[in-house]
Amino acid sequence: MAVKEAVDTSPEVMLAFYRRLYPFKSLFNWLNHEHAPTRRFTHREFAFTLQGDVYLRYNSFNTAEELKKQVCQLNPTRFEIGPVYSARPKDKKTVRPGMFTPLQRELVFDIDMTDYDPVRTCCSGADICRRCWAFISAAVQVLHTSIREQFGYENLLWVYSGRRGIHLWISDKEAMELTDDQRKALVSWMTVIHGGQESSKKLNVRLNARSLPASLQTAVEHLATIFPEVVLSDQNLFASEDGYEALLEQIPDSQVVTSLRKTWSANPSRSSEDKWLDLKAQAKKFEKGSSQRTNLTAAMEDIILHYTYPRIDAEVSKHRNHLLKAPFCVHPKTGRVCVPVDPLHIDEFNPESVPTVGQLLKELDTAGRSEGEVGEHHSDWEKTSLKPYVDILDKHALRLMEQVRLEKREQDVSW
């Protein structure tokens, strides 16, 4: 593990970050989908966490500038984004109770490394390294494909949470308008491993016969390609007795279990890869098409899903009015910025290379000195290593804005 550098997220540092670096305009475009402020921005809830854990809810703003002004005044440790309400959240107290309801909200997902604690050996709790990041990376790949192919959504923004997880924001019009019931249904469709479930519990994903639903079949085919490296080699999960016993519990054939346990307890040095091969060999002993072989193959698929399928925090996704930390906030413990991530290159992403707020301000000073300029800073992030990340958000927002523009033109023509 890397030696921890001193992390500076003091109020002075944060204020400098908000004033000079935070991309408010990009955030506005992404939330608003248009240049001129719409209800998607003006009726949107922002919640601030101030120093000392004071929590301010139901703020709303007319423009990106207003938001920036308020953020610089309050200097929060972070802020969160909520739904678009039927009235301006700041007017909540003055509107009739029935007239203040959430109408729209990005469909969001939260994947957190702590949910993987039962299946990782390299770190635990808040810690994270490149080896266990592989779980997150697998989750991103599966979710990204599933959401697009099964639900047809196209506007997905992935954001590193600054420490040990990742957020997904889906901004398609249809996704924004989903009701809580529909969100709940979608999350349930996506969920295989339920929160708090014991690591050894068998999955319950096969509807009737022995086949997996098509959506999970696609997922397991992809996950099978990363399973050997992540679970067997990197994590070496079945090396210990506890590890292989958890594996044995998921095998339905008691004779196979007895035979494997005998081999493995007699040879403590057998690696996880060896053990997986042993299991495969056991399956192959049965004739192709026999029920024993089909059952064992199905169990092996379930095991792959169990160890590598995305573990979703369902509560975050189910409710329109759940608040989620805004992109580009700073994680108070690590000082790292919550940057957008390219899902197609997620396996190359290294959380430890994400710029910290201290580093960015240093970069800014260096750049400023060489150019010799002082004054008001609007898009100073261009001069720092934050730029590629802001570019991702800008590109994403531009696509959203383009879609709205085309839609509007279509409506104009169709009169």
Binding site: G98, T101, E149, Q150, F151, G152, Y153, E174, L178, D181, Q182, K184, A185, L186, S188, W189, V205, L207, N208, A209, S211, L212, P213, A214, S215, Q217
Partner: protein
């Protein structure tokens, strides 16, 4: 309270009303999506009865969740209640069917007016109405159901053979059926598939019962009802919001507002049953003042029982307590003469003079013998529930949980209630289902009469009136006494 004058409640489009009146069949199907409001004159009386009868059913459906009924139990209870209050037959003379369907139609629309007024009421109304729709859909015969389905555009796209075979593997994987693979495949091959946006079948998506591709759900024919039910809910939700927006106009009609207010309260405590005091004892025997102590111990619900106990303890009862308890006793069958005796004996620490001056008039008044000479009805659960925290309201709502448990045990342990029963009651009270809690206590304390969990006062009916509680309890007791007597005689 309301005169039964003829008046238009709904829109007065004369021409439309004419046309609909002359068309041969106004309600061709038993099932109704309630697309059109009733366009005809109704009396205020009809307006209220139709709504009350329907509300009875919906309130019972709603309490079913709190009473943890299975789908089958819920269906039985609801069908039974429908037979009594809102029959909707499949066969019969056209005249009969039309009148039943008209009542169904009208009642639904009146309740829309009552329940569109807050988000919470809308949500609950939609849930109860769609459950009722499901029960009826389930009970419809296949042919009738198909005719109904054909009568509407559900906007589903039939999946053609080419597409079905293209996704054969994927569709088959989500196709539930026989454990026998070849039987399942055979059924699959004859199955029709329909495509809808996935958001229209969230229940099927939740259980992974469909194949999803680019936002489209491929729904097998046998799951088609999911689309129908979802459509019903969405349709009703939209309609309610529209109604809510246009309601202020209706609020000007001062005669309807109290009815609507009263109806929307019905969800809190069930539909208030009117227990009109006939003055005659329900079970034939006249009730004497000295019998009240015994009756209270055996048959009274907690609210009346605690008032009775307070009266005995304090030799006094405050004004509203006297009023509520007095009316209850009146409806129970205590004559005016016996009532005067009962109260005189109960207030045994005051002089005759004081009693005659301060109390006798009020007793006679409540019997309609003084003042306005009105025949006052006993207070329903709904009225007791909403009367505010006090010692004369509903104990399930107004007592602290601790006091409630103590009171339950001391009142009913002689009738078979044990502390093991308390957690269930407490949980129900915590969820705000006070009348369900009272109904459960009734069931628990009458199990020796053969009353089973979920039966309520018969056929699954919940307690909605203290007199209903007492009357049923006395009836059960009498039946048992009679049969015991018979055995002795024969």
């Amino acid at each position: 309270m309301f005169k039964s004058t003829d008046r238009k409640v709904f829109h007065d489009d004369k021409e439309l009303a004419q046309v609909t009146k002359h068309s041969p069949v106004k309600y061709p199907y038993r099932l109704n999506f309630y697309d059109r409001p009733p366009l005809y004159d109704v009396t205020v009386e009809e307006f209220e009865t139709c709504a009350l009868d329907r509300l009875r059913i919906l309130a019972e459906i709603e309490s079913s969740a709190a009473r943890n009924r299975s789908w089958e139990e819920l269906k039985t209870v609801t069908n039974k209640q429908c037979t009594n209050h809102l029959p909707l037959q499949t066969t019969g003379t056209q005249e009969l069917l039309e009148s039943q369907r008209r009542k169904d139609h009208l009642g639904h629309f009146v309740l829309r007016l009552a329940f569109c007024r807050s988000e919470d009421l809308r949500r609950r109304f939609i849930k109860a109405e769609s459950t009722l729709f499901r029960i009826r859909y389930d009970g419809d015969n296949t042919e009738e159901r198909q005719l109904f389905l054909n009568s509407r555009d559900f906007n589903w796209i039939p999946v053609d053979a080419a597409e079905k075979s293209k996704y054969r593997r994927e569709l088959l994987a989500s196709y539930s059926g026989s454990k026998n693979e070849s039987v399942r495949e055979q059924a699959f091959d004859t199955e029709r598939y329909y495509k809808v946006k996935w958001t229209r079948v969230p229940d099927l998506v939740e259980k992974r019962k469909v194949f999803l591709k680019a936002g489209w759900a491929y729904v097998p024919g046998k799951e088609q009802s999911s689309i129908v039910f979802q459509e019903f809910e969405v349709h009703l939700a939209k309609a309610l919001e529209l109604t809510a927006r246009s309601l202020p106009r209706l609020d000007e009609d001062s005669r309807l507002v109290p009815i609507l207010d009263n109806l929307s309260q019905g969800f809190l405590a069930g539909v208030p049953s009117e227990w009109s005091g006939s003055g005659e004892a329900i079970n034939g025997d006249e009730i004497k003042a000295e019998m009240v102590d015994d009756l209270a111990k055996r048959h009274f619900p907690l609210c009346m029982r605690s008032m009775h106990d307070n009266l005995r303890r304090d030799h006094h009862l405050k004004h509203f307590g006297r009023l509520n308890y007095g009316l209850f006793l009146k409806v129970l069958g205590l004559s005016i003469e016996e009532a005067v005796v009962f109260w005189r004996k109960s207030f045994d620490r005051i002089t005759d003079d004081k009693f005659n001056k301060e109390y006798k008039y009020n007793i006679r008044h409540s019997y309609g013998l003084e003042g306005k000479r009105a025949n006052y009805a006993a207070k329903s659960c709904q009225q007791l529930l909403t009367s505010g925290p006090s010692d004369h309201g509903c104990p399930y709502r107004h007592f602290s949980l601790e006091n409630l448990q103590t009171a339950l045990l001391s009142t009913y342990s002689s009738r078979g209630l044990t502390s093991a029963d308390l957690p269930e009651i407490v949980a129900t009270v915590k969820a705000g289902h006070y009348h369900v809690a009272c109904t459960r206590v009734f069931e628990m304390t009458h199990s020796s009469f053969g009353v089973k969990k979920g039966e309520g006062t018969g056929g699954g009916e919940s307690i909605t009136h203290p007199n209903q509680y007492a009357a049923k309890s006395m009836e059960l007791y009498k039946v048992q006494q009679d049969s015991a007597e018979k055995m002795l005689v024969e």
